[in-house]
Symmetry: C2
Subunit: 343 residues, 2 copies
């Protein structure tokens, strides 16, 4: 693994490959036309390549021309952020409808009492007279909440799709694509890149790992190790800002863990990632997804003139997703201990 190679040789090889992935994703996206599944897959390839190139530019900045690396990385961040939105809206809706079905006594994906919406995208703004059968007045809330979420998140997804199309047609995007095309054959290295790979890459990877370890040390892991600690719902009825402040350190670890994984890919290209570390990253992905789904449920509950039964179902859904947040923290804590045992 990089025996006699210089750090620059190894890094350039990695960046060339990722630039190739990016250009292939771009070509596939252009060819996908009306085929949504192909467009999704192509966007995923583009996004993955953009994030890995950005990660490489960040982690191995000492080996690169810093001005070029920084401005390029900013543009890649804009692109991957834009591309992620549409996918995130679709995934969030799937997660919330699945949870509603589960909460209505069906399995995920089954309709259960919550009769998955779709046939009906127009809900009357007022519920049925609340004097109806007491049970029914709450169970109808699940299907109405589902219809409301579907309407809101489908709209958000459509907007994200337009934004993506606009972005991909912009001169800003063309400039990024041109830079990536150059990257496929040429990387602007600094003099330090001539040092042996074993020295300079290891130092950069270690620096990334230290930042990760510091961020993990800042997490309330001792608390997360106790199941059912109710931490994630502590601000369930307070302002959204309180909840976000609580989640931020976990989101930070998620990003640093991904950065660390990408950094290891450069050094050990082709090797499978550490399974526990990979699973820990997936737990933090779930943490992020559940936190955003919980926020979407709370946000839907702020829709004017919804029926109380709809608001009730959204409250149950919000709390359910905040418990998924707590469950993800517990899972991360368990997995992180396993990686610690091997460190």
């Amino acid at each position: 693994m990089g025996g006699g190679l210089s750090g620059g040789d190894l890094l350039a090889g990695y960046l060339h490959s990722r630039a190739g992935d990016f250009l292939r994703g771009l070509r596939l996206y252009g060819e996908s036309g009306a085929d949504t599944a192909s467009a999704d897959a192509a966007a995923r390839t583009l996004r993955g390549a953009a994030r890995r190139i950005g990660g490489g530019l960040h982690t191995f900045r000492p080996l690169l021309d810093p001005g070029w690396a920084d401005s390029f990385r900013t543009e890649l961040g804009w692109l991957s952020g834009t591309l992620a939105q549409e996918h995130a809206c679709a995934a969030r809706l799937r997660r919330l409808l699945g949870a509603l079905a589960r909460l209505s006594g069906g399995g995920p994906g089954e309709a259960g009492g919550a009769t998955l919406p779709g046939a009906r995208t127009e809900t009357p703004p007022q519920g049925p007279p609340a004097a109806g059968p007491p049970q029914g007045s709450l169970t109808v809330g699940a299907s109405r909440a589902g219809a409301l979420l579907e309407r809101q998140l489908t709209l958000a997804r459509t907007r994200a799709h337009s934004t993506t199309l606009q972005a991909l047609g912009s001169s800003r995007f063309h400039a990024v694509a041109d830079t990536v095309a150059v990257l496929a054959s040429e990387v602007l290295l600094s003099p330090r890149a001539e040092a042996p790979a074993a020295d300079v890459l290891t130092a950069s990877v270690a620096a990334t790992e230290h930042r990760l370890l510091d961020a993990v040390a800042a997490l309330p892991l001792a608390r997360a190790a106790h199941p059912y600690n109710s931490d994630a719902l502590v601000h369930g009825l307070a302002t959204a800002a309180d909840g976000e402040a609580q989640d931020a350190p976990w989101h930070r670890v998620r990003r640093l863990l991904r950065m660390h994984r990408y950094a290891q890919e450069v050094w050990c290209e082709g090797l499978p990632p550490d399974p526990a570390l990979h699973a820990a990253g997936q737990a933090l992905d779930r943490h992020r997804d559940a936190a955003e789904a919980a926020a979407a449920a709370a946000n839907a509950a702020r829709t004017p003139r919804i029926a109380p039964a709809t608001a009730y179902a959204l409250g149950v859904l919000h709390a359910d997703q905040r418990h998924e947040v707590e469950a993800a923290r517990y899972a991360f804590q368990q997995l992180w201990q396993q990686t610690g045992a091997r460190r």
Copy 2:
């Protein structure tokens, strides 16, 4: 512990003592007047004595006159059930207001964003215009939900108090009190009670334990051992009957565990109970309390013409209490394993 005594001697001694407790509780209740704390304590003494006598009559039925034991036990069950209501309403309200304060970011008992109700017992049936500030429209829900619950549970408590007073003045109660007064000095034993305590009492205690073990074996303990399994909220938006069906086997174990504890008191009077078994019983008490609090929150959400923000807060609260149900099952499972290790 009952060396040369007959089963009847030991059982009669125990029942005499409990009858004494009952009569003392009754006297204290009569003397408590307007002092609510004293009345509560007296009612607790009465209830505990009635349940223990009823438990003894049930477990050691083979040693007693069966017709007398059965009809007496029915009357004691009626009395302790009636006495429990007022206390349960007060405890439920405390639990729900504590949870609301916690969910609003304050500690239990602190007001936090949920400003504990009390000053304001009249909530307008309609919320503020939903076009108000989006954050506020949900945070106001916590205090309104608290006010609504306080109104409903205070009313229920007042009704339970009247029912208790009526019951204690009824001829049915006087008949029970007379029977207990006789029990303080005389127990109607069967011929089997003449056998040595070590034989007959042990057999009865073992029968109780078998019923307990069978009931525990019917619980989904393997599932409960996985934290965050989301089982307790599976019917969170389905009908109340589904949720109750799920809780019933746990409630059954709670009752059998109490019966088992009372049976052991007869045999090992004065010895402290097995700590893990005691804690397991407390976990199932929490299970019952949380399940009933969750039902009260769902029930409050069925109040006609409540504001959506109130319904949302009640939904969050319901889900929170159902997670307490799940947490109690997890705790029971852990504690039960400890008792198993000693069996």
